[in-house]
């Protein structure tokens, strides 16, 4: 039987462990642009192991596409491990810093109220602006940003999503797929 690939477009997070060397991010990013996939978000940050960076890439796509791109990633020399996570199996978080216009006292009070409801925090106050820090799931952050739009958003910086699998299992674990990727690796 041919392997059944779900054609449904879903939000996937691809976690990739790479050696921390110049050009590695370019190399990974290029794989996606070559196939014309636009990345929803990409995050590259340290891990607990020195010299190893974790790149989390969020993208919309179907299973076959994700499977292919993961296999291609695995072949790159600096890539140590690749894991595909989908919505159900992982915890995803992002942070956003939002600078919003607060023209007068009334506006400021209203914003602070919203901030409290969303369990966000005000971390800087200017004469006519407030800077807000919110973290959590993407939908929560988007909702808050939506609410703040009425006041006039000056600037937003977001991290993009990082994800980690639920339960005890980690990206370092062995499984059949991992083994096959190692074959892929084997041939670089």
């Amino acid at each position: 039987m041919k392997k059944e690939f779900s054609m449904e477009r879903k939000r996937y997070t691809l976690c990739i462990l790479v050696e921390d060397i110049p050009g590695v991010l370019s190399q990974v990013a290029r794989l996606f642009s070559r196939k014309g996939y636009n990345i929803e978000s990409i995050v590259s940050g340290e891990t607990d192991r020195p010299g190893i960076t974790r790149i989390s890439i969020e993208l919309l796509g179907d299973e076959l596409m994700i499977d292919q791109i993961a296999a291609q990633c695995r072949k790159l020399l600096p890539v140590k491990a690749v894991k595909i996570l989908d919505e159900e199996s992982c915890i995803r978080r992002e942070i956003a810093l939002i600078k919003v216009r607060a023209a007068d006292r009334a506006a400021r009070d209203e914003i602070i109220q919203l901030v409290n409801i969303f369990r966000a925090k005000v971390i800087d106050v200017g004469k006519e602006s407030l800077t807000i820090w919110v973290f959590g799931s993407q939908s929560k952050n988007t909702a808050l940003i939506g609410m703040l739009e009425d006041f006039g958003i000056l600037e937003i910086a977001k991290t993009g999503t990082i994800a980690i699998e639920r339960g005890r299992s980690t990206i370092y674990d062995n499984n059949k797929l991992r083994e096959e990727y190692d074959y892929g690796k084997n041939v670089l």
């Binding site: 370019s26 910086a157 991290t159």
Partner: protein, 161 residues
């Protein structure tokens, strides 16, 4: 010295590759990089942290400005910006250690996001320093896996990029 570069770019395939290759071409390494869309879905904001000399960063900033996909570039220095970083961390935990871990989480302001009989997963968003501290505190409990975003930053006060 660590430098933070914020770049606003058009949100399309291949932009990231062009930007990162500007760095790798000079053979220097990016400490962390975060890309997220802004309030305008056609525009992404990239926050890059590099650990390199001033002159190099200035050069790269100029080169970045030249790319057609780049809308704006700004280097931020530590005194004038607010930076935050997000970490998700998984440690082994059992009935005995769980309490200790919880205490540290409380002190550091981390939240427990997932729990299993042998592990706990925490989320924490704070300044990079404090995130580091938390990771150090967790180390004795046997860290299983860590994912960090790298820092994002906005300028203090009303000014914008």
């Amino acid at each position: 010295m660590k430098q933070t570069i914020s770049v606003l770019v058009e949100n399309r395939a291949g932009v990231l590759g062009r930007i990162t290759s500007l760095f790798s071409r000079r053979a220097f390494n990016i400490d962390s990089l975060a890309v997220g869309v802004t309030d305008d879905p056609a525009i992404s904001r990239i926050t890059i942290i590099v650990d390199n000399g001033n002159s190099v960063v200035e050069q790269v900033e100029k080169q970045l400005n030249k790319l057609v996909e780049v809308i704006k570039v700004r280097t931020l220095d530590e005194s004038s910006m607010i930076g935050r970083e997000l970490m998700i961390l998984k440690v082994s935990a059992n009935a005995k250690t769980r309490n200790n871990i919880m205490t540290i989480c409380d002190i550091c302001g981390a939240k427990v996001a997932d729990i299993s009989p042998t592990s706990m997963t925490m989320e924490l968003s704070d300044t990079p320093d404090r995130v580091n501290t938390f990771e150090e505190m967790m180390r004795p409990f046997n860290i299983l896996e860590v994912a960090r975003t790298g820092m994002i930053a906005l300028q203090k006060g009303g000014g914008k990029i």
